[in-house]
Symmetry: C2
Subunit: 314 residues, 2 copies
């Protein structure tokens, strides 16, 4: 049997036909055009579902279900998207609307939860009973897998790990609080930290790497500078890894999962990031006695995580 | 059917015969004398078990199991206490040793987890699928209940919620990190904060309340001062409640449990503590859309939580 997985994003809707091992047989995407009425967007999702089933040369009666991953807060039981800022959705009955077009069970969950499920079923946390997936992007996304299933609390709104304050009264966060982990350890935060360091240190290689145009700084820039021996870049990277570690140790002290998976562009730095990160984390976790420790791995599923995780829902 | 619940503490061993609703029929306790060989301590636990069965007028074949709550890090599967600083135990085979004396299933877990289970089965979180119990004491203890069961990670060492850093590079914690929640929001932290404020403000009522002897300050002192209109006491209490809220919002953003239960002596302040705490928490949680919110309650089980929770293990 197969499932359709749909990654409903603010920019694109991507769908794939996925087998039971989490392998995508065929995929397609269309622009979301998020400002349209939700009925049109959902109609497109239904069409995409038929397209990927057809494109994979699979019969509809071999398809078991449709899973949808979406930004925002879902009511997973009812298949309703309570709220999504990115999509401008409020109390949208996604499941009921999809089932007007396709007579299949429809499951809905948050996109970060889907990514975590994908890593758990087919990625870096495969085989682990409990895992936590953290994505260091514009913000910090979190997905919690307990006993092989998504955990998001009684109202499906949990796992907001990026909105864990690690520095009381610290940097202002978009959520209204100050000092959330994502204001220190997201890619956005790293760019802000790098820009500030470059302004304060005009001689740093960072300034050369972007031809003096600090708006060109991205999350790779400080790593590039550090690798060239730049002291300022090195300091920025070291401090950033410390910020990642602070939140990660919190997550481990609380969850003690077999695996913590870290995703996001910054993971392309590989061992340059992971080696010092592991050192800080294992020195900081609360239980250091002769017990098994949480493994820290980078994400494997990449851009397809949303489709694969959605397909694994239900 | 009944269970024996044993609360193995650094000072006393307390045991009770407990019915299926979490009611203690009969209880007894003896001093732990923690410096003795573990064989003697466990022999005492076995004797206590027989005593409470007898004291409750229950036949041994009506007793289903024995549960033991202990400080430190257990291996719950094997019934071994890996490590406990309070008890000076290391890799102690509690289950096997107990079963030399009593032919019953023996279950072992951490005492904070047992307290959370007691609140979940028979206390403030009764009826909730997911709950988190926080005890504000010498440190901050945490217990996580997911789907009605204790969650403590793959190695049983999780739920160390007190060792979640809320203030990077903040107050030095006994765990080696800086800025753990318990260094700001435990009873110990409140006493430290109150003492400092009293030193800096000799005219504060706080100084009168302890007859000028600051070593007499306890966790009730700043609340008493605040209630008498003392500005310094008021400021200390307000800041302390903010520290509790910071960690609590983190817990809610991550877990979204139906109920968060707060225990520890400071809870005797009741609504004087809870009202401003709820205001801060509900203003700060990430998901404030029209979805059900976590309830914040004080613990109900008191000193018997350890016995009752232990009896509910297995």
């Amino acid at each position: 049997m197969y499932s359709v997985g749909i990654d409903l994003g603010g920019t694109n809707i991507a769908a794939g036909l996925v087998d039971q091992d989490g392998k995508i047989l065929y995929k397609e995407s269309v622009p979301t055009n998020a400002q349209r009425p939700y009925t049109e967007i959902i109609k497109d999702m239904a069409e995409l579902s038929y397209n990927v089933i057809k494109g994979a040369n699979v019969k509809i009666d071999e398809v078991q279900k449709i899973g949808i991953g979406s930004p925002g807060t879902p009511n997973c039981k009812e298949g309703i998207l309570i709220f999504s800022g990115n999509l401008n959705f409020r109390n949208v009955p996604i499941k009921a609307e999809m089932q007007k077009y396709i007579n299949l069970p429809v499951y809905l969950d948050n996109d970060a939860n889907c990514a975590a499920l994908a890593e758990s079923v087919a990625g870096s946390a495969k085989g682990a009973k409990h895992s936590v997936t953290i994505t260091l992007g514009t913000g910090i996304g979190g997905g919690i897998i307990i006993d092989g299933k998504i955990y998001s609390g009684f109202n499906y709104a949990g796992a907001e790990i990026g909105h864990m304050v690690i520095h009381c009264d610290g940097v202002q966060c978009t959520c209204g609080r100050k000092g959330c982990w994502e204001t220190y350890a997201s890619a956005t935060a790293l760019i802000r930290q790098t820009t500030k360091a470059a302004q304060e240190n005009p001689d740093s290689i960072i300034n050369q790497l972007v031809d003096g145009d600090l708006s060109k700084i991205n999350a790779k820039t400080p790593f590039d500078a550090a690798k060239q021996g730049d002291e300022v870049g090195n300091r920025v990277v070291k401090q950033y890894i410390k910020y990642i570690a602070e939140g990660l140790i919190n997550v481990i002290n609380i969850f003690m999962p077999e695996v913590v998976v870290i995703g996001g562009g910054v993971c392309k730095e590989g061992e340059y990031l992971l080696k010092p990160l592991r050192e800080l984390v294992y020195a900081g976790v609360f239980s250091r006695e002769e017990i098994p420790q949480t493994q820290i791995k980078t994400a494997q599923m990449g851009n397809d995580a949303g489709i694969i995780g959605a397909a694994m829902l239900g």
